[in-house]
């Protein structure tokens, strides 16, 4: 694209510059975490992380590592800004969302720093769109502090096993209950709706389960309205890891392969609604 990273005679250099040949590599991942209007973006030398939070109970993160981009340069250790994610997505998909074979939108992203707007330059078929999106002060975000030493139970599944279950969740139930145990029922998803309760069991020997590391029987409930948005990430992913810690905090990590076969991650963290931890 005929746009230089540093326009001649500009006041300050760009703190962040990034280029992508296919904007969908970014927009599809951002859609997977789009359940609130606002998101906080963190850019480091490793790549871009976009975080969305709701009600101080659920947090979603999309990671697009630097290698996915054709160019990714940051001038400070961490560049952070808050932005309207709905607006950002409308801009990234300005030429439409349908993916015709052979056509893609090229993207260049530039950010000068605190107080400056995020600049997007998008091009498809010789048509250029320039977007200037205002940024805001980043807000404090929750730190779920989910490290591997604190994990009590962990299951890795093929996403296709969960897709139907999540798409058909009984939304009249206020909660989704997740039971993970070294003994039967091993892994159970339950809802308690107007028509009654529904349980979906997965045996640890199931072909869909790639790894099963459950040390303790845990039953936790999570507000279904907070978990429902994760269905978008599940739909895009090929694998999902489900982890809980001693307090019943839930971590869902989705492995997503983009159109070029590159791997990206989206994770959802959720606080338990009620803590019914049964210890053996």
């Amino acid at each position: 694209m005929p746009l230089s990273a540093q326009p001649p005679g500009s006041a300050e250099p760009y703190l962040l510059t990034a280029s992508l040949d296919n904007a969908r590599h970014l927009s599809s991942l951002l859609r997977a975490v789009h359940f609130q209007d606002h998101a906080t973006c963190f850019a480091t030398v490793n790549g871009l992380r976009v975080t969305v939070e709701d009600a101080k109970c659920v947090q979603a993160n999309a990671f697009i590592q630097a290698e996915i981009f054709q160019e990714f340069a940051v001038q400070e250790q961490t560049v952070t800004f808050r932005i309207n994610l709905s607006v950002l997505l409308d801009c990234l998909t300005i030429f439409g969302t349908s993916s015709l074979p052979g056509t893609s939108t090229a993207l260049r992203m530039c950010y000068r720093g605190y107080g400056y707007p995020l600049m997007l330059f998008l091009e498809e078929g010789g048509v250029v769109t320039v977007c200037k999106i205002n940024t805001q002060e980043p807000e404090d975000l929750l730190d779920f502090d989910f490290c591997s030493t604190k994990v009590v139970n962990k299951i890795i599944l093929q996403s296709e096993g969960l897709r139907k279950a999540f798409a058909e969740l009984d939304m009249t139930s206020e909660v989704m209950q997740i039971t993970m145990s070294p003994d039967k029922p091993y892994f159970r998803l339950s809802t308690f709706g107007n028509a009654g309760s529904a349980h979906l069991d997965y045996s640890k020997d199931s072909d869909l389960i790639e790894a099963f590391h459950c040390n303790q029987t845990q039953t936790n409930r999570y507000k279904i309205s907070l978990l429902k948005p994760s269905t978008k990430a599940l739909a895009l992913s090929c694998k999902v890891s489900i982890r809980t810690d001693a307090q019943g905090f839930l971590s869902l990590q989705y492995m997503i392969r983009n159109e070029d076969g590159q791997i990206c991650f989206v994770e959802y963290y959720c606080c338990p609604d009620e803590n019914i931890t049964e210890e053996m």
């Binding site: 309207n84 300005i94 498809e124 200037k132």
Partner: protein, 283 residues
């Protein structure tokens, strides 16, 4: 006053349905003018319509196998009707596989356009679905309100970009703003711009080409104009979106004339149909 018409050819019927669908997207109520050779769908640019004007012209011979029209009197051999195009569109939806569609102006209890759809049937007698579409007869003294709008004294005339791309961009911009700025120059460049507190988005189209309009005295009005200078108008984005959404088939020719800060005049030409649409600039 009499009107009877019949379409038998399925391709003509589908084509006619598509035209009516487009009109239905652009106007809730409009005027149908019938002459011996043409049909016109007209929306005059009154304040009640939001200042939007529409003039759509069809050659009846390209659509109808039979067409008989007798106007209000010999001197004024035309009929002007007020109707809701959505009603006609819905009636034609039942005619997708019809053997024939007949239209007739009737006045049993009140004036109606009776659309009789003859559907294929296994038995010897045919199945007919009849729709009575209420119409208002517009008296001759009001016909002056519905004259063809003249091409405005525009600043720039330019061919439109690929409508599919234009539609995608406008659809997204509609999420971000209520108004959109269209600007274009005589070097074939057009920009679509929105600007709000949250975001500014500009899409640049190049190499669109400018149609040449020959004036009566043989010269072109735009000869004195700086080719790089942009003519601009800010319009209601929903009206532009409606126009683009209604285009089900790619037109043979699509262009717009911009009168800076006053009006944007769109002309979309298909083989058998011409559509002109006027969107006023916002004050």
């Amino acid at each position: 006053m009499r009107f009877r018409a019949k379409i038998v050819d399925l391709a003509c019927l589908n084509h006619f349905s598509r035209v009516i669908n487009t009109i239905a997207k652009l106007a809730k109520t409009c005027t149908l003018r019938l002459t011996v050779s043409k049909l016109y769908f007209i929306l005059s640019d009154k304040v009640a319509n939001g200042g939007v004007g529409m003039w759509c012209e069809l050659n009846q011979g390209n659509f109808f196998d039979e067409f008989q029209m007798e106007g209000v009197d010999a001197e004024h051999n035309e009929i002007y009707l007020e109707l809701m195009p959505e009603n006609l569109s819905r009636a034609l939806k039942t005619a997708q596989n019809a053997n024939a569609v007949k239209m007739k102006l009737t006045n049993k209890h009140c004036p109606c356009l009776r659309v009789a759809v003859e559907l294929p049937s296994l038995s010897s007698s045919s199945r007919i679905v009849t729709h009575d579409i209420p119409v208002g007869v517009i008296p001759r003294r009001l016909w002056n309100d519905f004259r063809e709008p003249s091409v405005p004294d525009f600043d720039v005339s330019i061919y439109l970009p690929v409508l599919k791309t234009m539609k995608s961009v406008v659809d997204r911009m509609k999420n971000l703003s209520n108004s959109i700025m269209i600007e274009a120059n005589l070097s074939g460049e057009m920009n679509l711009k929105i600007e709000t507190d949250l975001v500014c988005v500009t899409t640049h189209f190049k190499d669109l080409g400018n149609p040449s309009w020959a004036l009566e005295d043989g010269c072109q009005s735009s000869q004195d104009r700086d080719p790089e200078s942009m003519a601009e108008a800010r319009i209601d984005i929903r009206k532009l979106q409606q126009l683009l959404a209604g285009q089900q088939v790619n037109p043979t020719k699509a262009l717009c004339n911009i009168v800076s800060k006053r009006v944007v005049h769109f002309i979309l030409l298909h083989e058998d149909v011409s559509l002109q649409y006027f969107i006023p600039a916002l004050t």
